[in-house]
Every structure is written in structure tokens, then in C-alpha cells.
């Protein structure tokens, strides 16, 4: 029953795309789609796959994630009485949890898998699928640990974002040009099906249990963090790869001499 509902809502998401594609193929391009049967079969797989994926998340991950987020931010678990002003380090399990759940959900994020497949293909393997996904996941892990720290301390979102942007701008000057676009894209792909609902639950749960925080002001911002920090780690990865290949070249030249 659940599955049918989710399948229908997935179909509804696909519908606008389908209409746009059909309209352009028939009215503007006036030609049939190459390998039409295969493409339709692939489309059906995508819709069914996504529906299975979402139903599974709904059953397995979201309830567990939400329960864990509330339990970990529970004043009784942290060991403070609720009226007492809390120290930021008493919440260390929250930071660890945020980082680990950020890393592990990003590894399984379908849109990141899509971009990683393309990047691997286009760069002829220089940017390996696994390398990109792990780098982005590390960025999200750091982002969520820092983001939960921000909620606990109640510091201003703007300052963090501004510093993050400055780091990205500085890094951009020192990163090989051909990898910059990919790095910028990695920010947008991290936060979709898996991460957003869990992260939203974490942010709202935390901001409603930490004394002195308001969910409607402090609850936001985790997604913004998770879209910013992967850019920094991927730019860093690109710099690292460049350095590595340069060192390798020096070594090869030496050997040749």
C-alpha cells in the first residue's frame, strides 16, 4: 500500500520532465528518440528504483535516525538538568553522530552516484567514482558536525557561511581549472533524498531540546552547511591530485635522466 503511494508520487515528480522531453522531441526536434525501448525501460527502472529506495528509507532509516537524534540530544542522556546552561562539549555524541550519519548517508546518495559516474567517465578515470564520493561525504560529515556545534552554541549562520565562501574563493585560485566546475557541482548534489529529511530532523530536534534555542531560527542552516563544505573538500581533493601527479612527473623525469 505504502509502496503504491510512493510510486505514484515518484511518477508525479517525473511527469513534468516527461512532458518537457516529449514536447521537445515531437514539436521542436520532430524526430523519434534513439533506442526508444531501452530508454523507456531505463526510465521505468529509475522510477521503480527510487520508489523502492524511498519506501525502504521510510521504514528503515528515518524512524531510527529520528529516534537517535532525539535520544542523543535528550538532557537526561547528556547528563545535565534541563534548566542549567549547557556546555557545548557535553554534546559530543551529537557531533560524532552528525558526522558519521552525514558521511554514511552521502555515500548512498543517488544523485551523487549519478554525478560521480559521469565525472569518472568524462575524466577517463582521473576522478574515480569512489574517490569523489568519499571526498564529498567527508565534506558533509565535517559540515554536519560544525552545523550541530553552531546550533548548540547559537552562533550566527552568516559568519560561518561567509568564512566558507572566502575559503572557496581562495581555493579556486589554486585549483586546476578543469576540476573547478565539478567541485562547485558537488555542493548541490549532496542534499537530496537521503540526507535532507534526516538532517532536518536532527536540526529541528536539537534546536528544540537545547535550552535557549528556537527551532524556527536555529533549526535552519544545516542543509546550507552540507552544500558548502563538500565544495571545499572536493577543491582540496583536486589540489591533492594535481600535486600528486606533479610529484610523480618529477620522479619519472628523474628516472629518465
Amino acid at each position: 500500500m505504502d509502496f503504491v503511494l510512493v510510486l505514484l508520487s515518484t511518477l508525479r515528480d517525473v511527469l513534468p520532465i516527461l512532458i518537457v522531453i516529449i514536447f521537445f522531441q515531437i514539436v521542436v526536434l520532430k524526430q523519434s528518440i534513439p533506442h526508444l525501448k531501452k530508454v523507456i525501460f531505463g526510465g521505468v527502472l529509475v522510477v521503480f528504483g527510487l520508489a523502492f529506495f524511498l519506501v525502504g528509507l521510510e521504514k528503515a532509516l528515518f524512524p531510527v535516525g529520528k529516534i537517535m537524534a532525539t535520544q542523543l540530544s535528550d538532557p537526561a542522556f547528556i547528563g545535565i538538568s534541563s534548566g542549567e546552561p549547557s556546555k557545548w562539549w557535553s554534546y559530543y555524541w551529537i557531533y560524532i553522530f552528525a558526522a558519521l550519519i552525514g558521511f554514511s548517508t552521502t555515500i548512498a546518495e543517488p544523485s551523487l552516484i549519478a554525478v560521480a559516474i559521469k565525472a569518472d567517465e568524462v575524466s577517463a578515470g582521473t576522478i574515480s567514482q569512489k574517490g569523489l564520493r568519499v571526498t564529498v561525504a567527508l565534506g558533509v560529515a565535517f559540515a554536519l558536525a560544525l552545523g550541530t556545534f553552531r546550533i548548540v552554541t547559537g552562533t550566527s549562520l552568516f559568519i560561518y557561511i561567509m568564512v566558507g565562501y572566502l575559503i572557496v574563493i581562495v581555493q579556486t585560485f589554486f585549483t586546476p581549472k578543469r576540476l573547478i566546475a565539478l567541485a562547485y557541482d558537488s555542493g548541490g548534489v549532496t542534499t537530496s533524498t537521503v540526507t535532507v529529511p534526516l538532517v532536518a530532523a536532527l536540526g529541528l530536534g536539537l534546536s528544540s531540546t537545547v535550552p535557549g534555542r528556537n527551532p524556527s531560527i536555529d533549526g535552519f542552516g544545516l542543509i546550507a552547511f552540507a552544500s558548502l563544505f563538500p565544495i571545499i573538500t572536493v577543491l582540496g581533493y583536486a589540489q591533492f591530485m594535481e600535486l600528486k601527479s606533479r610529484l610523480l612527473n618529477i620522479k619519472i623525469n628523474k628516472d629518465a635522466v
Binding site: L50, G56, L72, G187
Partner: protein, 247 residues
């Protein structure tokens, strides 16, 4: 014989999908057993759910390779061959707009935002005003994503360097943050992240890479990526502008 090969191939792909899920399983089990030390809620249902997730991931990735990527690329080739800039721009805008306006995450966020802003007394708390506000927010975000894809595609055609545009965008976000009402800032920052759905990303990526492959002098790696970066940046600017317009 072919039947056996098929089964083997499916098992191989299932194994890959399982590998993707292992980190999540490890984290969840570790926290339940070691940190929280409470009995696991509805263990049977959770295991069942994980099996669904693994099968779903496998089907999705297969579907990407044989359906979504080829269609995105073949549209890019066909539109580039047709050589009409106007149709390419219209296609880009409509693709961005239509996939965003129906995005469930955006609908949820817009509704939440209308409740928060009316709670803060910034807009009238009548149902009609709140619905109007939420719809306006969705239209704003969808319009900005459409525009983002248009700018991104133009950039691929002209070969403009991406970082000038993105850094310019960042500076604009900072400036807008200073003048925008503070109630909308957190929402605006998050709006950038929620706009790109799981089906839009592969399609848009294939479109960008496809265009950069057919156009002479463009490299798929340097120029093909970047569309998603625009689609996450522009909504921030536009949502803050929307906030300025209302309050």
C-alpha cells in the same frame, strides 16, 4: 546459460548496492548497541526496509545508465544540431522550472516557511495569505532554477569561466544577506540545497556534459559541469529578494 549469466550480473549489482549501504548500517548498529544501549525499535521492519533500499538503489543506478543519461545526452546533441539558440534556452528554462515547481522537498519547505513567517507576525496569519506566500515562494525558487539552467547553458556555449560567475554570485549572496530580513536568511540558504531532485541531477548533468561534448572547443570536464552549481546558487539570491519584497 544466458539465464545464469543474468542472475550472476544481478547479484553482482546487488553486491555493489549493498556496499553503498554498509556505512549506514554500521553507524546505526554502533549507536544503538554502544551509545544508546536501548532495545532496537521494530527490528524486523528496519531490516525489511534496508532490503528495499538496496534493491531500489540497484534499479536506480541501472536505470540511470540505460535511460536517463542517454536521453539527456541525445537531447543535448539534437538541440545543438538544430542550432536554434532560442529553443535551447526555452528548453533549459522549462526543464529547470518544471522539475522544481513540483519538487516535494520544496513544497514542504515553502509550507513550513509560511507558518514560521506568519507566526513571527510578518505576514497576515489568514490561510489565504499564507497559501499565497507559500505559492509565491515556490514560483520564485522554480523561476530562479529555470534561469540558473539558462545561464549555465549559455556559459557552456560561450565558454565563460565558471568561477567568475560563481564568485560574483557569492558576493551577491553576501550583499543580499546584509539587507535581507533576518527571518528569511536561514530559509534562503537552505533553499539552494533542496531544489535539485534525484531525477533532475542526472538529467541536467547529462545535458551539460552532452552539450560540452558536441560544441567545438569545449571540454566535457571543464565546461560540462557547473549547471547544478548555478541551480543551488540562484535560489538563495532570489529567495532573499522575495523576502525583501514582502517585508
Amino acid at each position: 546459460m544466458r539465464y545464469k549469466q543474468f542472475i550472476l550480473a544481478v547479484l553482482q549489482k546487488l553486491k555493489l548496492a549493498l556496499m553503498d549501504m554498509i556505512p549506514i548500517i554500521v553507524v546505526v548498529v554502533f549507536f544503538q548497541l554502544v551509545v544508546i544501549q536501548k532495545p532496537f525499535p521494530q527490528i524486523g521492519e528496519v531490516i525489511f526496509g534496508f532490503l528495499f533500499v538496496i534493491v531500489g538503489l540497484m534499479l536506480f543506478v541501472e536505470g540511470l545508465k540505460i535511460g536517463l543519461f542517454p536521453i539527456g545526452e541525445s537531447m543535448a546533441f539534437a538541440l545543438a544540431k538544430k542550432g536554434s539558440l532560442m529553443w535551447l534556452m526555452i528548453f533549459s528554462f522549462v526543464l529547470g522550472f518544471s522539475t522544481t515547481i513540483a519538487e516535494p522537498a520544496l513544497i514542504a519547505v515553502a509550507k513550513e516557511a509560511s507558518i514560521i513567517t506568519s507566526g513571527a507576525g510578518l505576514i497576515e496569519s489568514s490561510q489565504k495569505t499564507m497559501d499565497f506566500y507559500a505559492l509565491g515562494l515556490r514560483l520564485t525558487v522554480a523561476f530562479s532554477v529555470g534561469l540558473a539552467i539558462v545561464i549555465g547553458v549559455l556559459r557552456i556555449l560561450k565558454g565563460w569561466p565558471l568561477y567568475y560567475l560563481i564568485i560574483g554570485g557569492y558576493i551577491l549572496v553576501m550583499l543580499m544577506t546584509i539587507i535581507a530580513p533576518k527571518e528569511i536568511i536561514g530559509l534562503a540558504y537552505d533553499a539552494g540545497g533542496v531544489t535539485t531532485s534525484t531525477i533532475t541531477v542526472p538529467l541536467v548533468t547529462a545535458l551539460g556534459v552532452g552539450l560540452a561534448t558536441v560544441i567545438k572547443g569545449r571540454s566535457p570536464l571543464t565546461d560540462g559541469f557547473g549547471l547544478i552549481a548555478f541551480a543551488s546558487l540562484l535560489p538563495m539570491i532570489f529567495v532573499m529578494a522575495y523576502g525583501l519584497f514582502w517585508f
